[in-house]
Assembly symmetry: D2
Homo-oligomer: 197 residues x 4
């Protein structure tokens, strides 16, 4: 155990949750499968080395609401995704998933261009059957596909199209969860601002 | 407002949540989209007349956990589904969704036979495109398809196969949420008991 | 177990909590020891037969907030108080405690007069030493003292002056918790309205 | 705003809450007025510069439970107490209050001796009337009295005897909340271990 690292992780996750719960517009970007936000130890090897939000972020009284507390091992999908992403760029320790629809996808693509961010799209219908069925094998495939689709770079945001029985999500990655939460909430505010204008 | 009806609704929903939160095995039957439990007023017309659990039921510390409180209007999908089901049988005021996989589907079919319950399966790939895309049109289709697949009877449990981008769920319906919760928890206990045996 | 009675108890307690949490002014009437609201079974004998709010009602984000859920056995002080009160009038099954200061005491006395409610004051410095020290003996003394001070009637509201080491509280009693909560919240709204006027 | 300091504060408070909520024995040391844990900024001047637990720590399902989240400005009493204590020793940024009874007082005195910790007792009946009545004036008096009673040193733990209308509490102070929480929980475990032995 590295006490300084843990204090930093608990601190940034708590502040990130305050940012998310304070952004009402983000309630509209929470997918049916709910959102998780993860933060990996610098030497993370398994999901137990990755902090996630227990019970994920859901919507209560019309606002984003963390169902439980940040905890090591609380995420499975997003934790395994960030572990894979870090094989390509170990500086990326955090990620957050959010809604996904064709209109938002177009918007995100332009937003990434305007910010100089890499954006990529993966088509989960291309995921081989033997990978879909093997527990835990989807995440390495998704990470690899997102990087390949971006010409070898790790995308800042990637979008996936849905497969049978799977709700697609968008994912934004970054170095730490406070900035990741601020970036996703900025997207929620701008996207809904524009739609209402 | 009918005070006696509301007291009954708040009371049975609270007791149903205690049943669900007290059943650890149910944590394994919570789908990615999370579970909701609904209870409709006797004269329910819109989702505002149906009580649901705000933020749905998620998993915290390995146990089922209601993210918020029972509230009128808190459910959208399950509320609209029970409104449709009641057009065929108004005595059914409650429903709950849970996990769905081929192994569980077989098990549920046998369990329903043993209990003399009607069981049916709907194939969401058959859902017409114009219905999938129209906001709110899926639920009437699902209810109708589940009843048709049961030869005109309202099934006690129905199962759906997934469409692109949609996680499939199983649904159990009944007269009131306390018994519905007890029935779903009984399924969770038996199903996981048998798998471990 | 009497199912109908339990449904009524869970239902009214849930609705009463919604009333209390929706009344911001009540936050100012929550004493340091926090508030509890209790509801006794018709044949209550011990605190296990009385429903209370687990963790009491505290103040979060400036608003009244039930720390846990209504539960049989969750209250000790207020549960034992209502059990004693019911020896004089079994129709009274619910009670709630709240703040207490000399200004509020005067106001409550006038408010009770205006409503035709019995009001009484007890002086806890008169509580015999042997009763103070005996675990659980204070409540019978308090109930008796409140009734004596009201000339043999059960007061609708009673007020106590503090003893060494004990924060004094005011108590309002009634037949069921939904009306008790509405009455206490009405007091909070009127009292703070007048102070601000 | 000092970002590094805030991350440290949110992080240590979150970890301290996990320590407290994980210590069942501490439930018995929570006073009627409930417990708070505070952590002051290095340059704290008012309660808004001190982090506390919103809604305090209460008991739910028999276990210590933080009613809300750590927040700047969430504590009033304990925040003002630590601000006063820091005038004598600015390295002390955290404090936590807990139960208080004559048996525990004796035990704490011996425990402090064994640990080489300064312990002192203050008698709140000696608090001048004009201070008791002036909002916010009690804390400076308490801090001063606790230091005087310890011969000019800041005590590690101090105990107070109750005044009329005030529940007495014990207070433990330290440099940061994670160690403060661990020290209070160690006391809870040892004290209840010895009583049961």
């Amino acid at each position: 155990m590295n006490l300084e690292e843990e204090i930093d992780m608990y601190g940034r996750m708590a502040m990130a949750i305050d940012v998310i719960e304070g952004c009402q517009e983000f309630a509209y970007l929470i997918p049916e499968v709910r959102t998780n936000l993860v933060y990996a130890r610098t030497d993370a090897k398994t999901k137990e080395d990755v902090m996630g939000i227990d019970g994920r972020i859901t919507v209560v009284s019309g606002r984003p609401h963390a169902a439980g507390k940040p905890k090591f091992g609380a995420s499975s999908h997003m934790a395994r995704l960030i572990i894979e992403i870090r094989k390509a760029d170990p500086s990326l320790r955090s990620g957050m998933d959010f809604a996904n629809n064709p209109h938002l996808a177009k918007w995100l693509e332009h937003y990434c261009q305007a910010n100089g961010w890499v954006f990529s799209v993966i088509d989960r219908r291309l995921e081989p059957e033997e990978i879909k069925d093997a527990e835990g094998a989807s995440m390495p495939w998704k990470a690899k596909a997102a990087i390949e689709a971006a010409g070898g770079k790790v995308p800042k945001i990637f979008y996936e199209t849905g497969a049978v029985g799977k709700e697609p999500v968008s994912v934004l990655v970054g170095r730490e969860p406070l900035v990741v939460a601020q970036q996703v909430c900025e997207i929620a505010r701008l996207y809904y601002g524009e739609r209402q204008a």
